[in-house]
Each structure stands twice: as structure tokens, then as C-alpha cells.
Symmetry: C2
Subunit: 207 residues, 2 copies
């Protein structure tokens, strides 16, 4: 009981903070190049620290990923705020949010898998992040459902999983922009009700 109630632990040592940051930087690079499955020991070596140091800071791959994604939270939050205020209508807002989520989940190759697992288990550092974004999804979804532009039977969690799944598919449909667009279209048609705008699909040439 000798510590303050607000911060139960004392401030980290300077070298600890330095190493942590360095590991994070290295992991960011490494996962970008090799996907989330990249060797953790290799990251430690490349960061110039021992394996023990890496595992002390991040007990497992998920913890490391969670820390990496935390750095992106802010961007996603500001995107949310932007959609809240600037979207033309609730449907576009929801669509924009799902696209933002899909991109977020595509930050590293293979990222959708641990995210999906986290969304199911809730006993993972990633789970907290996921739950937060599901709540935001719910906000946008409810708004769209209230004004009749989204189907009533759809739940936010399912839509979140759809965004992850879209990202998952994109990881395979390499270099095929058409697939990404097709997926987005299928998803939007999937949840949308009474589309107000005749969206771009021109009747075009018959053959």
C-alpha cells in the first residue's frame, strides 16, 4: 500500500523505455515485410536486444501486435470523428467506417487472424481493442438502422467480423483491385436497405 492508487507501478527505467520503443520500431518494419508470423527472436536480434528483453516487454506475439496497433488507434479515432461529422448520411458513414476497419486490419499481412481470434476469446490484449471498435461499429450501425438504411437483423459484431474477413480475403487476392471493389460492393449490398443513391454500377454494354 505504499504506492499511489492511480499508478500502482513506478515509472519504467530509461533503458527499459528505450528498448521497448526500439523493439516496437523494429517489429513494425519486420511485420510489414514478413507478416505477423515473422520470427520474434529475429526481431529481438534485429533490434539489438536479447530474446529475454523482448519477451519481458511483450509476453507473446499478441501483446506485441496490440502495442503496435495502439499506435494506430488515434488515426482510426479521428477517421471516426470525421465520418461522424462529414458523412452525407448514415449509410455512407457506416460504409466509410467499415472500409476504415478493413484497411486497419490489413496493416500487416496475416493480421486478421489474431484479430478474429481476439474478437472471440476476450482474453487477449487485442480483445480490448476489438471490443472498442465493435462498439463504434454499433454506433454507426444503429444510426443507419434508425434511418432505415441498414437491415434491422444485422449486428455490429457480425459487421466487424465482415470487415476482418474482407481484409482476410484481400490478403489473398493479391494485386487484384477488382476483387477488393467487388468485396466492398457485396458487403454494402449485404447490409444496406433501400439504397438512396443509384450507385455507380452502370448498366453499360450488354456483352
Amino acid at each position: 500500500m505504499s504506492r499511489t492508487a492511480t499508478s500502482n507501478a513506478r515509472a519504467p527505467r530509461a533503458d527499459a523505455r528505450r528498448n521497448r520503443d526500439h523493439i516496437l520500431d523494429t517489429a513494425e518494419q519486420y511485420f510489414s515485410k514478413h507478416g505477423v508470423g515473422g520470427s520474434l527472436d529475429a526481431i529481438a536480434k534485429q533490434a539489438g536486444v536479447g530474446a529475454g528483453t523482448l519477451y519481458r516487454h511483450f509476453p507473446n506475439r499478441e501483446a506485441l501486435l496490440a502495442a503496435l496497433l495502439a499506435a494506430r488507434d488515434e488515426a482510426l479515432m479521428s477517421r471516426r470523428d470525421e465520418l461522424r461529422t462529414k458523412a452525407a448520411n448514415a449509410a455512407d458513414a457506416l460504409d466509410g467506417w467499415l472500409e476504415a476497419l478493413t484497411e486497419w486490419a490489413g496493416a500487416f499481412d496475416g493480421l486478421p487472424d489474431p484479430l478474429r481470434a481476439a474478437a472471440a476469446t476476450s482474453t487477449s490484449p487485442l480483445a480490448v481493442t476489438c471490443e472498442g471498435f465493435i462498439t463504434t461499429t454499433e454506433e454507426f450501425l444503429h444510426a443507419a438502422q434508425r434511418d432505415g438504411s441498414a437491415r434491422k437483423e444485422i449486428r455490429a459484431r457480425d459487421l466487424f467480423l465482415v470487415a476482418l474477413a474482407t481484409s482476410w480475403v484481400r490478403g489473398a487476392a493479391l494485386a487484384d483491385g477488382a476483387s477488393a471493389a467487388a468485396l466492398a460492393g457485396i458487403t454494402r449490398n449485404g447490409w444496406e436497405l433501400n439504397p438512396s443513391r443509384t450507385r455507380g454500377v452502370s448498366p453499360t454494354t450488354v456483352d
Copy 2:
């Protein structure tokens, strides 16, 4: 040139065939329990053969999976034939086929991942299987597009990937039947055009 043109290799030895079958049986059980990520050495041990024997028959995990799935091909084919003849219309046929694919991809935990990879690379024993099913998907999709019940811009490969993705999501949404139904609904609304039947979604209670 001393062999017959039709079968370039001689018949396998009796013990080889026996071991192969035994490995397959064991792998079926093992993957069912532990998912497709289960240890191959453990399968060999449980099957009572050496690791070398397993790897001689199936050079890698994908080859083993492909052999396991081959045993299921027949069931899927007969489902296809059933849908061809008994489905009320092209849309229901396509829907039924996609559901069959989704179930097929859910045979083992984690199966969608190698399937997705195979659908992209085409240099894997699983790729052949995937391509075959994509072709069938194309058949059902074209029929639906011809009679105006499926959107024109959708491609068979994308729909195949959607089926895999649905299976992938189901792997997470454990024991939640509602999610499975929701996903199926989103998918169908995603590709369907001018739904002829007012499908079950009752306007129901307002709150």
C-alpha cells in the same frame, strides 16, 4: 518407354497403401480435434509410422489436406448435381452451392487459410481442388446472372472467396448460430438482384 502410357508408375506396394490409408484416417481424426495446424509428427506417431513415411506419402501439410479433402469431393459433387436438378431457381441454386462450399471449408478448424492461399498461388495440391470448385461456382453464378437474379459485376472467384471467408468467420463466432445466419444473409443480399421471394425477414416487433 517400357511402361504403359496410361499409368506411368507401377502399382504401389501393399504396405505402402496400408500406411497411406492409416495416415489418412489418423490425420482426419487429428485435424478434426486439433485443427489443420496440428503437429504432423504427432500424426505419424499416432498412426504408428515414422515421420519419414508420412513425409514420403505427403510431402507437406497441404498435400495431406488435399488428400483428405479429395475424400469429400464426391459428396460435394453430388450436392452440385442435386442443386442443378432440384433447386427452385438459379438464385436458390447458387445460394445452396455457396452454403455447401462454406460447410466444406469448415471441415477442419483453420482450413480456410490454406484454401485461400491455394486459391491465390495455384502451385499447391489444394489449388487444383479450388479451381475446380471455382468453375462450378461460375456455372451457378452465370445461370443466376443470365436470369437476372445475380448482379452482373460479380465474379465467381470472388464468390468462392466469400464462401471461404464465411467459413473463416464461423470459426471464430463459436457456438453462435445467429452469426452464421447473419453472414449468410449478408452474402445473399450482397450478390442477389431483384429477390423474387420476400424472404423471411419479418418486420417484427419494433423494439
